[in-house]
């Protein structure tokens, strides 16, 4: 679209609405065999080279190896005590091993789902033969993978478009359903901002196009997204890195605690075996979050992909959660793209039927949604076409005349358009003619004009020859449910700013109706950057959507820029996300995903640390036999061996138990930060303290009953 007027209607753009879930049309993801493959991968990932990337789990792996050694030879580190230490050590080894495998499994499942997602994306990207236009103008057939930025290719009906690019010649319709899921073909033509960019993997279904390739092989949007959801090129996001540090610190602290324990315990005449020490260490270090951390990150990217959004980095998705300000265009985002006729306001003593008839006459050839809505309204009011359509001539809207209409067979001219344009038209037709009263521009007209403006509508004047018949009230329809979404955003602390080309009266009405926090009327593209910079100067993070070439600087300036897939290549390059459905409100969903990602990490970390209390209270009282700490054994656990095993089994099982949560993310509710904290602390903090007490007790009873310990 031409952003010089952010309000110009977008024709032929389906505007998805309705509940989010119904819009989430995942490309068919093949989950068959996902779990078998994940199980296999979980073992493949035991390779120390991979394990070393995850400090917590690497420690567990090293611990497993050491307990394996004391299983083979229980007296390796000095004489062992207790009956059958080999069996006990063996059990510890098995549980520790499974702890690592479960963690790997979590990652593998997340990656597997990502891969399935990537395969679905990749299926659109088969290696095709491209017709490359050589410098001398001749055409050579080359593989699409050899195309580089700047190459020019020709595609004709039936071809797959070989790579992302920009149309430099031709007009054609393209089926983009492979990536957007939208079945209606899209018109692509050169020059126009909206329709000049094409995406690799889509199919041209009519005519032919010459395309200039804008990305190198493997660097297109789809390629980047594939790499991201597969987890192969996943670099850690800033918050993830900070969390990794914290987990490593906690791990290190507990390593020091455990390393110093034998000397102290020996002094107290309660020597503790190496296997038990390792068990205690593994119980204390944050294995739950350590095992699930990477799965959470991969699953987050996967969720973004499911929403049909291509993110160029995980960092951008995470930044979405931090957004303070959302800059949105009015048209197509807050209101439906099209204004609809709501009412006819007759002036100059004309009747309602008269104005309806003239409006109908002026609109019969108008195919825009506005025109069609006028026809509908006029017919509802009983107006008929009283002339021979085939003999009449339609006058198209042009930016210069700012009106459209019909030249009737009898020579009369029916016009509708911007009020001052019609005023001018009426004056020109009145010159030399009879000074009929109805040709005069009366104050009544201005009153009607103001009334419509004050309602937030767009007034169109209707005239027949030199007579003004009245005003058509074109109403901007605020998208259903948008007000609630902005309410949610406000509660999440996100401010919304609406940009519109309308005058400030109209803008304020729409702003009020949609419930945005602020609006900029009569906005130019430069205003967009200015607004973003102003907000950023206050330390805020700004997100915006855009699609035009002149949106590109603003998209680059914004902390999160979401380009519409229908937008220009320049806009897509400048943005850090591309929405394949070209639905500007989707930004709100991405904000939620970003927040969910952080909440899930925080919640599982809190849960993991809170669990330590129960594990301590289970293990410490029983391992120092000489210290008589039995009264601290609040859970009444059976024996030293059963306690250690129960705690470890709990520790191992909690990882697979939480995989679903890690993959789907903690449910996000649009509450204020304090309400969220209260809720999540209650569930994951308090829950994390209480749950293991119960679980360990239950496991203890079970394994004692089956005689495992």
């Amino acid at each position: 679209m031409d952003s010089a007027n952010p309000d110009s209607p977008r024709p032929n753009r389906p505007q998805p609405s309705g509940p989010r879930s119904s819009r989430k049309h995942t490309p068919k993801v093949n989950t068959k065999g996902l779990y078998q493959r994940a199980i296999k991968d979980a073992f493949v990932k035991l390779n120390p080279r991979q394990m070393i990337k995850n400090p917590v789990m690497f420690l567990v792996l090293v611990g497993t190896i050491i307990t394996l050694l004391v299983t083979i030879d229980p007296n390796l580190f000095g004489a062992s005590q207790g009956q059958n230490p080999r069996r006990f050590n063996g059990l510890i080894t098995v549980i520790l091993f499974f702890t690592v495998v479960f963690a790997n499994f979590a990652e593998a499942v997340a990656e597997g789902r990502g891969k399935a997602q990537a395969d679905a994306l990749r299926s659109t990207k088969s290696d095709t033969i491209a017709r490359k236009i050589l410098p001398d103008g001749s055409i050579a057939e080359v593989s699409s993978t050899t195309l580089h930025q700047g190459d020019r290719v020709k595609v004709i009906a039936g071809d797959l478009i070989p790579a992302d690019g920009e149309v430099i010649a031709g007009v054609a319709s393209v089926d983009e359903s492979a990536i957007t899921g939208e079945s209606a073909p899209v018109l692509k033509e050169t020059g126009s901002d909206v329709a000049s960019s094409v995406t690799g993997g889509t199919r041209i279904i009519s005519d032919e196009l010459t395309i200039k390739i804008t990305s190198d092989p493997g660097k297109g949007f789809i390629d980047r997204m594939i790499a991201l959801v597969e987890g192969a090129e996943r670099s850690k996001t800033p918050n993830e890195i900070a969390l990794t540090v914290l987990l490593a610190v906690l791990t290190l602290v507990f390593v020091f605690v455990i390393v110093t324990l034998p000397a102290i315990a020996n002094y107290a005449n309660s020597p503790v075996s190496v296997a038990v020490l390792i068990a205690l260490l593994v119980a204390l270090i944050p294995t739950t979050i350590g095992g699930l951390l990477s799965a959470i990150g991969i699953a987050g990217m996967d969720r973004v992909a499911q929403f049909n959004v291509i993110a160029t980095s995980g960092r951008a998705v995470e930044a979405c959660g931090d957004i303070n300000t959302l800059v949105l265009d009015k048209t197509g985002t807050i209101t439906l793209g099209n204004r609809l006729a709501e009412e006819f306001i007759p002036v100059n003593n004309h009747s309602m039927t008269e104005i309806a008839t003239v409006a109908l006459a002026a609109s019969v050839f108008d195919d825009t949604p506005e025109g069609k809505s006028i026809v509908r309204l006029a017919e509802k009011l009983g107006a008929n076409v009283d002339f021979d359509r085939s003999k009449a001539e339609g006058i198209e809207f042009s930016a210069k005349t700012r009106m459209s209409g019909t030249n009737l067979p009898d020579g009369r001219e029916a016009r509708k358009g911007a009020v001052d344009a019609i005023k001018g038209f009426v004056r020109s037709r009145s010159v030399g003619g009879a000074h009929s009263r109805s040709g005069e521009i009366t104050p009544e007209l201005d009153t009607a004009y103001e009334r419509v403006s004050n309602l937030g509508g767009t007034p169109l004047a209707v005239a027949l020859n030199g007579n003004i018949y009245g005003i058509i009230y074109l109403k901007d329809i605020v998208k259903p449910g948008i007000k609630e979404r902005f309410d949610q955003l406000r509660r999440m602390g996100v401010r919304t700013i609406m940009l519109t080309g309308d005058n400030s009266i109209t803008a304020s009405v729409i702003a009020g109706e949609a419930g945005v926090d602020d609006f900029i009327a009569e906005a130019t593209p430069e205003d967009k950057i200015a607004v973003i910079q102003r907000e950023q100067a206050q330390g805020k993070l700004v997100a915006m959507t855009g699609d035009g070439t002149n949106d590109a600087p603003a998209l680059a300036q914004a902390n999160v820029g979401v380009a519409m897939n229908t937008g220009t290549q320049a806009a897509k390059e400048a943005a850090n996300m591309v929405d394949l459905d070209s639905d500007p409100t989707k930004l709100i969903d991405i904000v939620v995903i970003g927040k969910q990602l952080l909440i899930t990490r925080g919640a599982l970390t809190t849960f993991s640390i809170a669990n330590d209390i129960a594990k301590y209270f289970a293990i410490i009282p029983v391992i120092f036999t000489s210290a008589n700490l039995q009264s601290l054994n609040v859970m009444g656990l059976a024996s030293t061996n059963s306690v250690v095993l129960s705690a470890l089994i709990y520790n191992a099982l909690i990882i697979p138990a939480l995989i679903p949560l890690a993959l789907t993310g903690v449910k996000f509710r649009p509450l204020t930060a304090n309400q969220l904290l209260q809720r999540n602390i209650l569930i994951y903090g308090l829950g994390g303290v209480v749950a293991p007490f119960i679980a360990i007790k239950v496991i203890d009873v079970v394994i004692t009953a089956v005689g495992l310990a």
Partner: protein, 89 residues
Amino acid sequence: MKRINLLNWVSQLKLVEGVSFVWFEWRRQQLPLAIFLLLCLNLIIAPVVYAASSGTLERRSAWAIGILGLVTLGLVIYLFDVIFRPERY
């Protein structure tokens, strides 16, 4: 005099060569070399552990504990590295 100098020179060369050899091998195959160095270090540690235990430990256990200690030390260094350079992991 001259001969001794020459010997000195040769042995220095050998030392440099040895160091560079170990260094290059280190870059090539880290794990086996790490294990080798670990065992070498343990030559010093294990007798200390054995002596400190004043006869309550077998010689074999002293060795095992020495290695366990070194592995732990390695883990501590590794964790410090994770803390200060988390981007690498």
